[in-house]
Structures are given as C-alpha cells and as structure tokens.
C-alpha cells in the first residue's frame, strides 16, 4: 500500500446553466478582460492509501459517485498527482 495524492475535479455537465460562472464572466468583462463563457468547478486533493495508481483512481471515482458529485448535474475527472510524495511521470512533464 502506498500513499497517493489524487486530484479530483467536479464540474457542471455540459449544457447545464452555471450562474456562478455567468456572473464571474460578467465581472471579468467589466474589468476589461475579453472573457467568454466561464465554468466554475471544485477541486479536491485527497491522500489515499492504495496498491496501485489504477486502484487509487478507482477509489477517487467511487468518492465522486458516493459524495463529491451529484449525477444529475455534475461531471468529474480524477488524476493521481504523487505517489508517496514523488510527482508522477505525468506531473513531471
């Protein structure tokens, strides 16, 4: 078992109206930025004990299904960031 840091991103499904993103976009335009659509999501980084990267990813997906995402409106993606404090290959690039 190794400790892995997993990054979980939860965001609204495509086609769902995002009031928070909408007002954020307006405010950015007020400040002079050429901002178009803004989507707001949540990022969780979770330390998990797992036997492999795949197992850690599976656990994170299960966390989304059981708590972090509401299937009616949310999509999610997961990514293993570090294994026992070391950055993973993907992260080094």
């Amino acid at each position: 078992m190794r400790t892995m840091k997993v990054r979980i991103e939860v965001r609204l499904k495509a086609g769902h109206f995002d009031p928070e993103g909408d007002v954020t976009s307006k405010s950015l335009r007020d400040l002079g930025f050429p901002a178009g659509e803004v989507k707001v999501g949540k990022v969780y980084t979770v330390d998990v004990n797992a036997g492999s990267r795949e197992a850690a990813e599976k656990l994170a997906q299960e966390m989304c299904r059981k708590l972090l995402a509401n299937p009616t409106k949310d999509d999610f993606s997961v990514e293993v960031l570090t294994v026992e404090g070391r950055a993973t290959q993907k992260d080094k690039r």
Binding site: F17, P19, K66, L67, N70, P71, T72
Partner: protein, 263 residues
C-alpha cells in the same frame, strides 16, 4: 393514534436552524416535539416518534453541496431505521436545507435511502441568495401535509436559499413526477397561476416551478419554502397595516397532525 401519546422529532446537526420554530409550531397544534442532535439518536430512538423533521439551515456549512454531507450521514448511520420509519407510513418532512438533505440521501424523489441522489437542488439561476416571501400554488394533495388544503389554493410563505433550483436528469423523470402527483407546491404568480419560470415569481429557476415534492407514497415531503416561518399571523408581513390572522404555513403542520391522529 392519540395525539397525546404521539411525538415528533426535529433533527439537528451543526448549521441547522428553525428547529425551534418547528417545535413551537407543532406543539401549538398539540404534538409534543423533541429537538435531537444526530449524535443523540441511539438504536431504536426513531421508533418513539410519529414524525421526523429535517429543518432548514446550512448543515455542515453547505460544504461539497448543500445537504450533501448530512444526506450521506443519514445513508451511513440511519439507513435501516429511517427505511423502516418511512415503510411504516410515518411522516418525514424536509424544509429548505432539509429538502436538500432528503434529495442527497436519495429519499426524494426516489423511495429509499439509497445514498445516491436522483435529482438536484442546483444554484439559483439568479446567482443570488433569494430571501423573501413568495406565492405557492398547491398542485396535489398526494401527501398528508397537504390534506387540509385545496388543490390550486395559493399560499404565501418565505424562502431563504441559494441552492433551490430543482432539476431532474431527464424530461421523462419530470413527467413521471407530475403524473404520479408528486409535485405538491409550485412557485406561482400572486393570482395563483404557475410562475412558468418567470423571475422573480419563480425565485430560483426550478423546473416546472417546483417548490415542493413528495415520494410516491406521500409520507415523505420536501419543500424549499419555510412553513414554520409563516405559522402565526404575526410572522407575516403587514399589508396596509393589517396582518393575517394565521400564517399560510400552518396548514402544512395541521395536515401532519390530522394524519397522526388517524394513524
């Protein structure tokens, strides 16, 4: 069941509010009510009660999503007992945050504490916390909570929420809910017509102007407006210097008490 022998339970966790208002409302109607923290619930405690209330507020700081953490806590700690409670036909009501909790626990619009929500109370379309009085149209009397009112009656109650836009995963799911008469309250115009999505009458952009729904059996109801904040006449805002003799929210509790008497 004799009202004197019956009791209601208002559950509480960090961040809930209006628990005392619900207790005062129910006791005014003769139903003894205990306010219990989730941690005070031991095995079998629930069976002492005829009605369970999930009050409003911001349970666990609305972290993750409004109602999500408490909803999952119910799934992990109370699944069996609450399942038996609802199977026995006893009453459960979730008000505002309590409605969000019942949805997150899977109890509404579904039928069991499955832990997976089949609907969502998303951020208000207005991107604002909406805190004001709104009109409701009574759409169905499927639930005991609406037994003392008439279909198409117009009620006036306050709301206070940032995440109240009721949405379902599909058009079919909405049609099913309507067909089964599970839509109890819809946001309405002052004259009682449905708000038809129009702001500010529909304060959050909810699909089909949905403000309150029940389960198929009718004994579990969730609603975004606060009936306990519109119980006494003196809680209602004065109009031309006059106040209502009784608040419109009173009927929700009267319906529950009538049901318990006959249970």
């Amino acid at each position: 069941m004799e009202l004197k022998k019956s009791k209601a339970c208002v559950l509480r966790v960090g961040g809930t509010n209006c628990d005392l208002e619900v207790k005062v409302a129910l006791e005014e109607l003769g139903l003894k009510t205990d306010i219990l923290h989730m941690n005070q619930l031991a095995d079998g405690t629930l069976s002492n009660y005829q009605m369970l209330v999930f009050p409003g507020g911001f349970s666990y700081g609305d972290y993750v999503r409004a109602g999500a953490i408490w909803g999952k806590e119910i799934f992990t700690k109370l699944r069996k007992e609450l399942g038996k409670f609802t199977d026995d036909g006893k009453l459960v009501i979730g008000i505002c945050n309590g409605f969000q909790v019942l949805v997150e626990a899977g109890l509404l619009p579904g039928n069991s504490v499955a832990g997976v929500p089949t609907a969502s109370l998303a951020n208000n379309s207005s991107a604002k916390y909406e805190c004001r009085w709104i009109y409701l149209r009574v759409e169905s009397r499927q639930t005991p909570f609406a037994r003392t009112i008439k279909v198409w009656d117009t009620l006036w109650m306050p709301i206070g929420h940032g995440e109240g836009r009721f949405i379902l995963p599909s058009e079919e799911a909405l049609n099913e809910l309507v067909k089964e008469n599970q839509v109890i309250f819809r946001y309405a115009m002052p004259d009682g017509r449905p708000a038809d999505g129009r702001y500010p009458h529909n304060p959050n952009g909810a699909a089909y102007d949905i403000a309150g729904i029940c389960n198929k059996k009718g004994n579990v109801m969730g609603m975004m407006p606060h009936p306990e904040r519109a119980f006494f006449g003196w809680q209602t805002p004065s109009q031309r210097g006059k106040r209502k003799a009784r608040g419109d929210g009173r009927c929700v509790f009267e319906g529950a008490v009538e049901y318990i008497k006959k249970y």
